[in-house]
Symmetry: C2
Subunit: 252 residues, 2 copies
C-alpha cells in the first residue's frame, strides 16, 4: 500500500512527483525541503483530468480532499434560491482549492472546470497529519489560507466600493499578474470564463461587462477579440483598477 518511497512510482506516467512538478514553486511545496516533498508525494493522490463543465466538488459535498490545480481554470460559485449566482473565485494553475470546506467538513460552494483542467487530489486528513509532523508545511497551509482571506477581502472592497469600470480593470490586472507568475505573457490574456461568469464574479450584469470591454477598447486600453484580450496600456489600467492603498503581496 505505502510502497512508494523516495522516487515516486508513476502509474502509467500519470503521476508526477511533486518535486519534479513544474509548479513546485507556486503550489503547496514552496518552502518545503527534499524530505518533506517526498513525504508530501506520498499523500498527494493521482493527477486527474476534468473536462469543461465538470465539477471538482459541489455545494454540500463532504470534505475529502483539497485540490491543487495543475492546469486550466476553475470557478467556484455560490447559488441563491432564486438562481442568482456569485462567482467567489477563479483559480489558476498553482492554486489550492477547497480550504473553505474545512470549517464545516463540507464544501460551501461548487467548483467547476471552465476548460480542461488537471488537478491533484490531496486527502485532507492525510495532509493534516503530515502538517503535524512538518512545521514548514503547517506554516505553508496557514499562509495559503491567509492569502485566500486577503483575496476575499480585496474582492469585498471591489464589490462594495468600486465602480463597474474599476472592478473590471482591477480584475484584468489581477489576471495578467497571475498569468505572468506562471511564466506566460502579462499582455495577452486568454480568458477562460464567459462574460456572464465575469459579471457573476464582479457583481455586474453580463451586458455591463460587455459594454466595458467595448469602451476600454475604444479608449485604447485593451484590444478585444472575444475572450482574447490584449492589454495595451497596462499603467492606465492599473491606475483605474487600483484605488487600493497597496498591492496585494500574494506571495506564493
Amino acid at each position: 500500500m505505502r510502497d512508494r518511497v523516495g522516487a515516486v512510482v508513476t502509474i502509467g506516467g500519470i503521476k508526477l512527483a511533486c518535486k519534479d512538478c513544474s509548479l513546485r514553486e507556486l503550489c503547496l511545496p514552496l518552502g518545503l525541503h527534499e524530505a518533506d516533498l517526498t513525504a508530501l508525494d506520498r499523500v498527494v493522490q493521482r493527477r486527474r483530468t476534468l473536462k469543461k463543465g465538470e465539477t471538482l466538488y459541489r455545494y454540500g459535498d463532504p470534505l475529502r480532499s483539497l485540490y491543487a490545480l495543475k492546469g486550466g481554470t476553475v470557478k467556484t460559485t455560490g447559488l441563491m434560491e432564486d438562481g442568482r449566482v456569485q462567482v467567489t473565485g477563479f483559480y489558476m494553475p498553482g492554486e489550492l482549492l477547497g480550504v473553505d470546506a474545512i470549517n464545516a467538513d463540507q464544501h460551501p460552494c461548487t467548483a467547476e472546470a471552465l476548460e480542461t483542467v488537471e488537478v491533484c487530489d490531496i486527502p485532507f486528513h492525510a495532509l493534516e497529519e503530515l502538517a503535524q509532523k512538518v512545521p514548514a508545511l503547517q506554516h505553508q497551509l496557514f499562509r495559503i489560507m491567509s492569502r485566500e482571506i486577503v483575496r476575499d477581502e480585496q474582492m469585498l472592497m471591489m464589490l462594495g466600493r468600486m465602480t463597474a469600470e474599476e472592478r473590471l480593470a482591477a480584475a484584468l490586472v489581477n489576471f495578467a499578474r497571475r498569468q505572468a507568475r506562471l511564466g506566460l505573457s502579462d499582455r495577452l490574456l486568454r480568458l477562460a470564463m464567459s462574460r456572464q461568469d465575469l459579471g457573476d464574479y464582479l457583481g455586474l450584469a453580463l451586458e455591463t461587462v460587455s459594454r466595458l470591454f467595448s469602451r476600454f477598447q475604444e479608449e485604447g486600453l485593451i484590444s478585444v477579440h472575444g475572450r482574447q484580450i490584449e492589454i495595451l496600456d497596462a499603467d492606465r489600467l492599473r491606475g483605474m483598477g487600483s484605488g487600493m492603498a497597496g498591492e496585494v503581496s500574494v506571495s506564493a
Copy 2:
C-alpha cells in the same frame, strides 16, 4: 520562567486562565483538552483593554500576534487612496482577529475598537509552535481560518448579488445570531457601529442604511431607537436576508 503549571498565576488578577474564561466554548480552545488548555495559557499574553477609537493594529503593521476578542466590538477596515472605506468585518466576543496577516507577515487592514474592548494577545510564533505539538489546536486554527473564508464568501454574495434591503436584513439576522451565541438576546440588538460603518460594510451609502431602518420599522419588521434595534418579525427578516441556499454553519 515556565513556572506556571496547571492553575495559572494571575498577575494582579488581570489574567484569567483560558480554562476559566467564560468564552472558552467560543474562542480558540474549543476541542482542546485540559492539558492543551494549560499549554495555551502559557502562550496567551495579558488581557488588555482598548477604548473606543483605539486600534488593535493598523494597515501595514508587522504580524506579531493574533487577537482573541473577549468583550466589545471591533471593526476591520480597508482604505482606498481617495478615502473610500470598506469595512471587511465586525468582530464580536469569542472571535479571533488578525489571521489575514499571516500571508505577508503584515496586517492588510486596520482593526479599530467600536466601544470598550477586551482582547488577549496571542503571539503568533508561539501559537504556531504550540499548534505543531497539539493536533487539536492545529485543526482548530484551520477551522477558524476556513470559517473566515466562508464568511467572506457570503459577504461576496451579499455585496455582489443582493439588494440593499436584502443586505441589511441579512446583516441584522447575522448579528442577532452571533449575539445569541454569547448568551444574549436574539431579539434586542445594541449595535456598536454607526450607520456610516454599516454602510461601509454593506457597500451602501449611510443614507440608504438609515432609510432602510425606517422602512423596516414601518413594515413592522423591527423597532428602531437609534442603535438599539428590536427584531419584531425574525422569520420575515430571515426570509428577506437569506435568499442564500443554506445557513452558514459557522460552527465554533
